[in-house]
């Protein structure tokens, strides 16, 4: 842990001891005329898991998709404010979105392996970014990524079979391996377990906890228990506003905002 905390803004200063990896300042998002996010200020601490919670339509996924500019693919979406990655504004014209996404990977709600072999799924990213010069390097990256995603033991005998033939939980871990393979610094997860059964969910949660050593992780989740289990910090969104952000323990035991209190005790959402 870093003993000399960087100034993190009034809220975070009192509770966090790590460096800031990404920082959103006054982030507004519009879909056409409709505003989806209102002046969100949020710090993403390095090598921690931060959970974004809140009722459906509260803007947490929208915020997540701003972090690697996935919202660019939506024509009517407009983002103002500043989001930095290592103090570099990701919406700056000098930033190449392709490079950004190589540094900020993403795992989606529904497992979306490519209709290719397991190996090709993992090798896809390293190939397009030229991370491996030889076939054996590529294989090494693939194997390491699968190992880190806790999938290698299960699939080592069928690396060249279609990734779509795996079970849902295995597919999601394959997608995580695919994201890891390009060595991102930040991994964004958009409700990664909502399509999985409890056993697969437990495995993915363990994996998230392991990955924290090397990656900064932002996870959107609808499950309070999941947020409590895997995250160190939690941010609560409501109707496009960031309601509060604090250490997960504090949020779940002693939230300062009554809306958070209501949401985590299941009174609405």
């Amino acid at each position: 842990m870093n003993e000399n905390p960087v100034a993190l803004g009034s809220e975070a200063e009192t509770s966090s001891k790590t460096a800031v990896k990404m920082r959103g300042t006054g982030v507004d998002v519009f879909y056409g005329d409709k505003q989806a996010l209102f002046g969100v200020n949020l710090d993403i601490p390095e090598n921690q898991v931060i959970a974004l919670i809140g009722p459906s339509g509260c803007g947490k996924s929208t915020f997540l998709r701003c972090l690697n500019r996935m919202n660019d693919t939506i024509d009517i979406c407009r983002v103002t404010g500043e989001i930095t990655l290592d103090d570099q504004n990701v919406y700056d014209p000098s930033v190449d979105v392709v490079e950004l996404r190589a540094r900020v990977g993403m795992v989606f709600q529904k497992p979306n392996p490519f209709p290719k072999s397991i190996f090709e799924n993992v090798a896809y990213g390293p190939r397009i970014h030229g991370l491996a010069r030889t076939r054996s390097e590529l294989e090494e990256i693939a194997v390491t990524s699968l190992e880190k995603a806790g999938l290698f033991e299960e699939v080592k005998d069928r690396l060249h079979e279609p990734g779509t033939g795996l079970s849902g939980g295995q597919q999601q871990r394959l997608c995580i391996a695919r994201a890891i393979a390009v060595s991102p610094e930040v991994i964004l997860m958009d409700e990664p377990c909502s399509a999985l059964d409890p056993i697969a969910t437990a495995r993915v949660e363990e994996l998230i906890d392991d990955l924290r050593q090397n990656y900064t992780i932002v996870i959107v989740t609808h499950s309070m228990q999941q947020a409590a289990r895997v995250s160190q910090r939690t941010a609560m969104f409501h109707l496009g506003y960031l309601v509060e952000e604090d250490e997960t323990d504090t949020i779940f035991t002693n939230p300062s905002n009554p809306k958070t209190q209501d949401y985590i005790t299941g009174r609405y959402g």
Binding site: N68, M70, T73, D75, V98, E99, L100, R101, A102, G105, M106, F108, K110, N112, P113, F114, P115, K116, Y124, G125, I128, H129, P162, T164, C175, R178, A179, V182
Partner: protein
Amino acid sequence: MIATLLLVLVACAIGAFVIGRNRAIAIAGGKVASLHSRPSHHGASLAIVCVVPALALIVLWSIIAPNVMDTAVLSRFSAELADYGVPQIEGFLRDSRAVAFGGIAGFTDELTEQAAAYYQSLNATGNMILAAGTALFVLAGLYLGYRAIKLRTRARHLVERFILVILIACSAVAILTTIGIVLSLVVETFRFFQKVPATDFLFGLHWSPQSAFEGAGREALAQDQSKIFGAIPIFAGTLLITAIAILVAGPIGLMSAIYLSDYAGPRFRAVAKPILEILAGVPTVVYGFFAALTVAPFLRNLGESVGTSVSSESALAAGLVMGIMIIPFVSSLSDDVINAVPQSLRDGSAALGATKSETIRKVVLPAALPGIVSALLLAISRAIGETMIVVMAAGLAANLTINPLEAVTTVTVQIVTLLVGDQEFDSAKTLAAFALGLALFCITLTLNVIALRVVQKYRERYD
């Protein structure tokens, strides 16, 4: 008479429907829900019971009655007709019918007048019997059907079964027609192969069926009949023109599909796609004279200006225009399959830092490949079967060449030329058209089957 009866039957059906429905409502006594079937089902079922047997009777009658009448007339006048030959008897019957029922009689005498009178009396009796039978069927159906209307009568089952039978009959028409066409092709082809050996047809290199003669003078012709039906040159011509067409339509169609599905804005797409599909609606004869009058002379002039000779009816002109014609098939079908690739795959690729073109080349196109292949195969079978463009632009000379600047001919063109004009329908020349048709049918069928199998095999890979 029959038209009147049919009109009456329609009226009966409507009446029976109303009666049956009202009866059902009356039986239910205000509680319609206590009926097993809805009142309209009872009405429809009563209408079916009334009308369908009577309709069957009318259809049967109109098939059988003319033959029965002919037989009756013949037996009555057998003495007078004893020394008539078959054509005379047929003429006699035709004239008598014309006199009796209106029409143009060729030759009338006393005998035909008598026969006509007999025809008329037979017809009048027959019509009365038919009308009586129809009425009996309708009334019996009405009586039995009306009595059968009860609370628990399963009228809905009868109505739905009836609709099912009609649906099956309609699809049977399409299937039976196909089977009939294939059978007639096979039979006529078999007859052709009795005149010309199949091996000569399939592997012969010389095609000039216009020099085939039947009957008198045939022996005088030194040429061996079977050696002029070698189909290789015309299949080679078909292949050449199809290949040119696909070389044009494949890349253009595919790339426009990629643009439309992944790059074009929704507004441009909404305009461009229908316009592309209009291209498919242009009549092929328009493409044909476009090819013959614009493209072919242009190519010939172009050839002259660079010092090569281009035939005025070249494979290139026909192939180019045919390629334009099938662009919409390729682009529209490919656009559909590319759009069917889930957005989640594109997002997944983009989230890994892939550019749009990398995503399309490495994720979208491989996932859409089966559909694209089948689109291409369908376009190929369309090109192979296309007739009008090649008739007008490709020429008739059966050259065995792969030079696209020369005139070639195709299977479809040859079928047209074999069957146009006055000729016997059992000569080797006309039968050759059936053999060509069968061969063409087999080729396009194979391509379609392959296309279907490819799609089925790989369809669900990304689900």
